[in-house]
């Protein structure tokens, strides 16, 4: 849940990168970390196994700048993609303000993408969050590889809610910032609506 601190005029939001194993979630964060100036980011924390698979999460704090006088910060997390790490995925999802779903565009990975997206819906529902109520952005990653499915097919299989979607090659950085920008915008627009509701309550009360 976004934290708005009126005293220090700071907004902190949490975005979780979700998706099947090896779809490129950590690569997204690594690319962001490599490109953002040092004074706008913190250390990237990676809790990974020896084989570089995410064990618990990766974490990257990022400062965007000021909106309406509020310093806006994002905390980017990834979840471990492998099926058997579901317990840790649920923990990382706690308090998420927005989700980037990183799908692997390779033809052979479609089933894993679908299963992971279903798993996202289930894990959100377990926390009584309807996936329609949280900003989600789709990223179709690994577009630079051969044997990828067409964008239309991926949209049809995964994006039946018609959320913002982007083609990406995270290793090369393509589509990484477009995805993050769309996710940030979704989260902050939702926050603005929430501010409006709470302001109405305050004004009415």
């Amino acid at each position: 849940m976004s934290l708005v601190n009126y005293a220090t005029r700071e907004i902190t939001c949490k975005i979780v990168y979700y998706g099947p194993g090896r779809s490129g979630k950590t690569t997204n964060l690594q690319y962001i970390h490599s490109r953002v100036p040092w004074d706008r980011k913190g250390e990237m924390v990676s809790l990974a196994t020896e084989a570089d698979r995410t064990l618990f999460f990766d974490f990257l704090p990022l400062e965007l700048g000021r909106i309406s006088g509020f310093t806006t910060r994002f905390q980017l997390y990834t979840v471990p993609g492998q099926v058997y790490y579901n317990a840790t995925r649920k923990l990382v999802l706690q308090g998420a303000d927005g989700v980037v779903f990183v799908a692997d565009s390779q033809r052979s990975q479609l089933e894993s993408d679908i299963e992971s997206f279903r798993n996202l819906q289930e894990n959100l529902l377990e926390r009584s969050i309807d996936i329609r109520d949280i900003p989600v952005v789709m990223q179709y990653n690994k577009r630079d590889l051969p044997n990828v499915l067409g964008m239309e097919r991926l949209e049809e299989e995964l994006n039946f809610r018609d959320v913002p979607s982007f083609a990406a090659s995270a290793l090369l950085g393509e589509g990484v910032f477009d995805t993050l920008r769309a996710a940030s915008e979704g989260v902050l627009r939702k926050l603005a609506r929430k501010l409006e509701t709470s302001a109405d309550v305050a004004a009415g009360g």
Binding site: L3, K14, R40, F56, G69, R73, Q94, L180, L188, A199
Partner: protein, 162 residues
């Protein structure tokens, strides 16, 4: 019942935290919520060190809680990790703002006994605070939303050096 504004909430957290740091003789302390967001801190010099510690501690707390539940417990007691020179204490408690956690780092100038003692006193002070009023109108939602797009354009241009 009295309700605190958010500005008052922040002040309300900072004073007990600073008293805890002084009385227990610890080097650093940070108060976070379950999501790992920082509510008050003392002793951390660099913001990003602080948020890294907060996110890792929130992860430890969440996984410890999940493990406890699998074993039929609601939640384990506080966590204490001792290194050669420095020790870490993670204590959780319920408050009007939901479950909060105090993370503190100490060395030979303090002890786990002292930390536990003053942690209990700290928790009591926080739990005596009145409910918190989060609906405080100090930002215009319309201004915020109208600034959003241009701000994001600017941010991302800066970020990627475009």
């Amino acid at each position: 019942m009295d309700r605190l504004s958010l500005q008052e909430i922040q002040r309300a957290f900072v004073e007990p935290l600073e008293d805890f740091v002084r009385e227990a003789g610890v080097r650093m302390a940070v108060l976070i919520n379950r999501g790992g967001q920082v509510l008050a801190q003392s002793g951390f010099e660099r913001l990003y060190d602080l948020v890294g510690v907060a996110s890792l501690a929130a992860g430890i707390n969440a996984s410890s809680r999940a493990l406890a539940r699998q074993l039929g417990e609601d939640q384990f007691e506080h966590l204490h990790h001792a290194g050669e020179a420095r020790q870490l204490f993670l204590g959780h408690f319920e408050s009007a703002a939901g479950q909060l956690m105090l993370i503190t780092v100490f060395d030979e100038n303090s002890s786990i006994g002292l930390v536990r003692l003053f942690f209990e006193a700290f928790v009591q002070r926080i739990q005596r605070l009145p409910s918190m009023d989060t609906a405080r109108r100090s930002v215009s939602p319309k201004d915020f939303e109208s600034e959003l797009e241009t701000s994001l354009d600017r941010f991302f241009k800066d970020l990627v050096g475009g």
